[in-house]
């Protein structure tokens, strides 16, 4: 995928950072238990499992049971981190997430790996394009989509320190680096990576690096874009959204997810109730993707810096047209 991120250095996949961060936390915290559903080598929960086999349960290909067991462990004082592909743990475990985790407000951390379409060749059945919308629909859930390995480490730590249900999406491919080292991170707090006064690009996951590239290209044409990493989709940093609207007057939201119900929808809601400005969205438009190489899919389905750049120019022309009226 390197050619989609010109000038960026790649780090590890966020799923690799997840496994390492979890193993490190496990050293100090006996109460952490880890459950997986026959994807431990892929989600990287196996990294914890190898270090702490007694606190690791591979429940087999049983996502509903996985979530239900986590509920029981949490109500018995354990802190379960559970994982599978995002498409399976969220979709096959949804009622269990609702009844055994969200409704009783239990302290379960859910990790959906292989999020989005950048998983590639396996195709639509394994790609998760709706997990963020569904996780956000669960009351009390914190929902995060980290952009790189460093931020993933910070998110895992925050998830452990927070008492309550958390959903974290991780990715399969190596991710372009956004941070040099583990950043400051708190739920409900966005990170401004670049300031600008003409518009704001709000993104998460792989689209953060794409947004930074788009901002550089826009700057070449004298357009200054603020770039905000909104890893935490819920609770949303409404202050950051409001000031983006007030300070820059135009917003683009970009994510590797369906347009409906994800980051874009949540930011739009916050903009509408605070300071309405023109907005544009980059995401999947009411469709599943397909099999293919990850980079080819990101291009075909419009999830690269080019679409972010184009959306920025569209939103600016809409604002100008509005101002002229």
């Amino acid at each position: 995928m390197n050619h989609l991120y010109p000038g960026r250095t790649f780090g590890k996949a966020t799923r690799d950072a997840y496994g390492e961060a979890l193993r490190d936390l496990g050293r100090d915290h006996e109460e952490i238990v880890v459950l997986d559903a026959d994807l431990a080598k892929s989600t990287k929960s196996a990294t914890f499992g190898e270090a702490f086999p007694d606190r690791f349960f591979n429940v087999g290909i049983q996502e509903a049971n996985l979530v239900g067991m986590a509920g029981g462990m949490a109500s018995s004082g354990k802190v379960p981190f559970i994982s599978s592909f995002a498409a399976f743990v969220i979709l096959k475990g949804f009622d269990q997430l609702r009844m055994a985790v969200s409704y009783p407000k239990l302290n379960v951390k859910v990790i959906g790996s292989h999020g989005g379409i950048s998983i590639g060749e396996d195709g639509a059945s394994q790609q998760s394009v709706e997990d963020v919308a569904l996780a956000c629909a669960l009351p009390d859930f914190v929902v995060c989509v980290p952009s790189d390995e460093h931020q993933m480490r910070a998110v895992v730590k925050a998830a452990f320190e927070h008492h309550g249900p958390v959903y974290i999406r991780s990715g399969r491919p190596k991710a372009p680096l956004v941070y040099d080292t583990t950043p400051e991170f708190a739920f409900g707090k966005a990170a401004t990576l670049r300031d600008g006064s003409d518009l704001t690009i709000i993104a998460n996951g792989l689209l953060v690096a794409a947004a930074l590239i788009a901002a550089e290209r826009l700057a070449e044409d004298g357009i200054e874009a603020r770039v905000v990493d909104m890893a935490c989709v819920k609770p949303l940093d409404e202050d950051a959204v409001r000031s983006a609207a007030e300070d820059t007057g135009a917003i683009v939201v970009a994510e590797e997810h369906l347009l409906h119900g994800g980051l874009g929808a949540r930011v739009a809601q916050a903009v509408a109730t605070s300071h309405p400005v023109p907005m544009e969205f980059v995401g999947l438009d009411d469709t599943y993707a397909e099999s293919g190489d990850p980079a080819g899919l990101m291009e075909k389905y419009g999830l690269t810096w080019k679409e972010v750049d184009a959306a920025a120019r569209r939103v600016l022309s809409r604002r100008t047209a509005g101002a002229a009226r």
Partner: protein, 317 residues
């Protein structure tokens, strides 16, 4: 063999074995070309799929894939779809050349089966656990319409850990369609390792029987046993489950029993090695190899022991 009932003449088992060998060649070539995919579980299902499509079992019409009275084959373990694509291409559903497009953008040959893409695919699968419910629905629909279509559903052994499989099994035991046949590809491994180490299935036949199914256990690489069991299944008059003991990666020596090849395609170096093992051999020798069923089962068990020791190498996804 379109539109006719099971032929009076017994299927030519030697010819089926040769077909199986060619299907294996297509599988390794197609996965190498795709540089991703699941060789282990594709190769373990070759005899079953070959017998279904070419052994006079499945009544279908490649010229008319939507023929309403056809038998259905639902590949519930969708990651094994290369074996089905190879069979469909050889049966004439689409050109054999198209196999090279597997897993590429705009291809009809998706990485997991998608209904409405490649002709001959009967259900979208890939999220494990769902195919038997779909097959049950098809079987009951055929019964309602007074059609004698049969529905064959191929399940993975790891897949049988999913609760939905047993919901469907229980529902079929209640509704008792005479035209529903489940086949379990019992290759003893799932993604993270050996079934027995993760969530064991035994006693597997007893589980199906307790839900009202007739069962038969076979060596899933012995073509004669596979053909006989499938023929028997269509005459059983009630839901039938064939438990096919198989070897994951069967036919490619370095993949057999090495679960690293669950989800890793053959490399450039491995492809010629695999293909050379799949060349047409001395017919006598082939016969002996195919009949060595006890040996096959011994090796499956040995590989389980080995993986328990080494903890496996892991899937590529």
């Amino acid at each position: 063999m379109a539109r006719s009932a099971v032929p009076a003449a017994a299927p030519d088992v030697a010819a089926l074995r040769d077909r199986a060998r060619i299907i294996r060649r297509h599988i390794v070539e197609m996965l190498h070309e795709a540089a991703s995919g699941h060789p282990g579980g594709s190769l373990s299902a070759v005899e079953v799929v070959t017998a279904l499509y070419f052994g006079g079992i499945l009544r279908h019409d490649p010229e008319n894939p939507e023929w309403p009275e056809r038998d259905r084959f639902v590949l519930s373990k969708g990651h094994g779809v290369p074996v089905q694509y190879a069979a469909l291409a050889m049966a004439g559903y689409f050109p054999v050349d198209e196999l090279r497009t597997l897993r590429k953008i705009d291809s009809r040959l998706q990485g997991h089966p998608v209904l409405g893409t490649a002709p001959g695919i009967e259900a979208s699968t890939g999220s494990l656990g769902q195919g038997l419910s779909i097959g049950l629905g098809m079987a009951l629909a055929a019964r309602l319409d007074d059609m004698d279509s049969r529905v064959f559903v191929l399940l993975g052994d790891g897949e049988c850990q999913e609760g939905q499989v047993w919901e469907a099994a229980m529902a079929a035991g209640h509704h008792r369609p005479a035209n529903l046949i489940a086949i379990v590809d019992y290759n003893k491994f799932q993604l993270d390792g050996a079934i027995e180490d993760i969530i064991g299935l035994e006693p597997l036949a007893a589980k199906w029987e307790s839900m009202g199914w007739k069962t038969r256990e076979i060596d899933g690489h012995d073509m004669q046993q596979v053909v006989d069991a499938l023929e028997w299944s269509t005459q059983a008059g009630e839901p039938v489950c064939i438990i096919a003991h198989t070897v994951k990666g069967k036919g490619v020596s370095f993949m057999e029993g090495d679960n690293a090849y669950h989800g890793v395609a053959p490399s450039n170096e491995e492809l010629p090695r695999a293909l050379s093992e799949l060349e047409r051999g001395d017919p006598e020798e082939e016969n002996a190899r195919a009949l060595g069923s006890a040996d096959v089962l011994d090796r499956a068990e040995a590989s389980i022991d080995a993986s328990a020791e080494s903890n496996g190498k892991g899937g590529g996804r």
